[in-house]
């Protein structure tokens, strides 16, 4: 059986402040009653992950991890959301590992496949930026050293 999952693009569409607030208050209310349903916990967590704020995303991932721990039946679905959350946070290694687990279970899952591609692309992109940075740093370093050497030689 294949899990029903949103595409990664859905994670970029953030909820309005009000909507998130409703989800939060629902979650808090259930928390106060000491019985939190999985659904409202997930609703809040997913709302948080969709949010553009990093702090929100982190909290959302933490909640998803809670669900993952407490609800073995929901783990497979959570794999994807966790992966997505890590992806949004920029922790591509974790994102890829969680997504990999899901792909192991459901190789034909389109959402997971596309998320995997997204992760790869992001990693590559980051890699190039990193390379460029290193390159730039090396150049600057070389120039500096060269300058120093020249000055030393002149003296």
């Amino acid at each position: 059986m294949q899990s029903e999952l949103p595409y990664a693009a859905d994670a970029e569409v953030s909820l309005s402040f009000d909507e998130l607030e409703v989800l939060r208050s629902q979650y808090q209310k259930e928390l106060a009653q000491t019985h939190v349903t999985v659904q409202s916990k997930f609703n809040y967590a997913w709302g948080l992950v969709k949010s553009p704020k990093r702090a929100h995303q982190v909290e959302g991932v933490a909640l998803l991890q809670d669900i993952y721990r407490a609800e073995p039946a929901r783990r497979r679905e959570c794999l994807y959301y966790l992966s997505l959350g890590y992806y949004k946070l920029g922790n591509y290694d974790e994102a890829r590992r969680f997504n990999g687990l899901l792909l192991e279970k459901e190789p034909a899952n389109l959402q997971a496949q596309s998320l995997g591609q997204l992760i790869d692309r992001a990693v590559t992109k980051e890699g190039y930026i990193g390379m460029a940075l290193v390159g730039g740093a090396v150049t600057i370093g070389t120039l500096l050293v060269a300058g120093l050497v020249r000055r030393a030689a002149r003296r």
Binding site: L5, D18, E19, S40, L101, E126
Partner: protein
Amino acid sequence: MGSHPNHHPPSSEGNRNGLPPTETNKQTRFDFLQRAIMAPFNHTSSDSTRILSDLAPIIMTPRMMNSAAAITSRQRTGSDRGTLSRNRVDFATIGRAPLRLTLGSHQVTSHDLQIMEAAEELLEAEIPEPQGVASNVSLLRGFNATIPSSDKNRARRKQMRNVDTPRLGLKRLGAGARGLMTDDDGHSVASEDDVVVVSRSEPRRKGKRRARESLSAAKTLGKEELTRQSEEILRDKENLHVRRSLINSEIEEITHKIEALDSIRAKLEEDLLKLQEDELELTAELEGVNERLTFEQSSRRDQQSGIPASSRRKKGPSFLPSEHDELPPGVAFMTLESHTTPITALDFSEPYGTLVSASQEDAQPRVWDLLTGSEIGRLRGHNGTVKCLQVESHLCLTGGEDGTVRLWDLRKVDDDGTWGDDLVSLSDVAEEEGASNAGSDATTGKDDACLRLLEGHTKAVTALYFEDDCLVTGASDKTLRQWDLNTGQCVMTMDILWAISHPHPTNIGSSVLNPLFPPASTFDGHFSVQMPAHSDGSWDMFEDFVGGVQFWGYGLVSGSGDGAVRMWDMRTGQAHRTLLGHTGPITCVQFDEIHIMSGSLDKTIRIWDLRTGGIFQTLEYDHVVTALQFDTRKTVAAVGENGIKVYNRTSMQHSTLATNGHTKPVERLRYMDRYLVSGGRDSMLKIWSL
């Protein structure tokens, strides 16, 4: 620092700490600068070399290369691109390393670290197949169905139709009651939509009119809009369905949780009861130890008193062999079968001690060694069935149908069947006893186990109880007699018939005679009642007028065939209280400091309050009660069934001992501590661990 040269003034703290000689200072500053400039490169290089070295073995191992080559050659067609991208990713990984180090723009919070650390652990966890609601309703569907905006369409449609609904706040109330996601302070999307409707609505009086107008389709919405609306409605209905199944699954889950908690609670309560039991047991054990202590001290004082003063009533827990604890409780672990007729009486000295048992139409009670389960010998002397007996240490008293009571020394019983029925006359024994002081070597002339013969009752002795040298017997001649075992003389006779006909004036209850047993039947010479059938349909005539006796100090309690439990004063010989309530002859009676317990042919055990004389509790059974014994914690009873009934007085639980048990109804039993002996109509004796 202490070895620092003295010319530095001790006041300059900075100098002391800073290691200040000028040349070195310059050097360190340069060092620091160098280190600072080189730092990122050092880091990067170390990091990237680490990654390279991580990758290196994979890339470099020739075998790996070969296998990789083999694989690519085998599936050359599609895999080229894959390996390429794989390589690219590897380089990307290297490239990302500095980025992560240098451009970590976000500050790392503890939360971040937490979720990073948790990732490893979570990746380890196994992922079971989703089941139950997890397989029906995905989280996403639940999300879509429950987010506030799922109500948007409905509000929009309403607006479209311009049906203004009266704003009574009912919806929000209802939603709140159902625990749906609405915001309490009215900031939710749904309530904003509500506000929109309100703002457009006219005063209520007009609203009604307009509503009717709109419902009469005065306004045309267009086909497109209507199709869209119907689609939306269908989707909303589906959402509702999702929500319903979510709530149902929650309810189910809570039910499971409640069940689990309930079972935990029951378990804990059980534990609590067990603790209570353990505490009682410990208290009893302490009492026993203390008693033994005082007994051993007193016996050291006068070693020559051969018969230890033991009392069934005061007896604490006996000291069982340690192996006894390993026996499974509630199982008959030994069966003694040599009797051929139903057991009529039994008693034993102590667990794994000596057992004496008597059966119907058998004048010779058998003596058993409970450690080995072998028959030691027989008590020869009675003429007719032995109906009651009691064993204390090595002394045994038996009362028989022949109206006599015999005192035996069990130490002198051996399996020598040579001696015949040579009866020892009372005078002989009396002489013998007179010559030797109580209990000391009584083997003057004959090697006979029978120490004494007590004669006086004119009919079968049916109940007896002794403590130290005082004996009370009850017989079918409707009298109770008190004996002095030292002299063998009857000290007092208490006439039950007289007590029946002269009820004590202070006791109101006793003036009412039991209708089941009118005086006529009790007054006529022979007492005989047809016993209600046992569980297997068998029955006997019940002829034991006195079912049971017990005394403590001067207080005596008897249970008799007229269904009355009487309390006597042994100083006056008067019954000072009669407890009425049983509707059948009493078969057994026992009391402690608080309660009297009596079992009867009326299929009940009644527990009486010793002080007030009221019925404290009635235990009802399916068949006749023929024997019982109780302590503070439990009541063990033979109730005309194959199994032995145990009633736990602490937990109020009934249980039945049946494992490896009797094949016909149990009639007699005796227990000490956790060691029980029972005798049944199947002529067998069973030994149980409790």
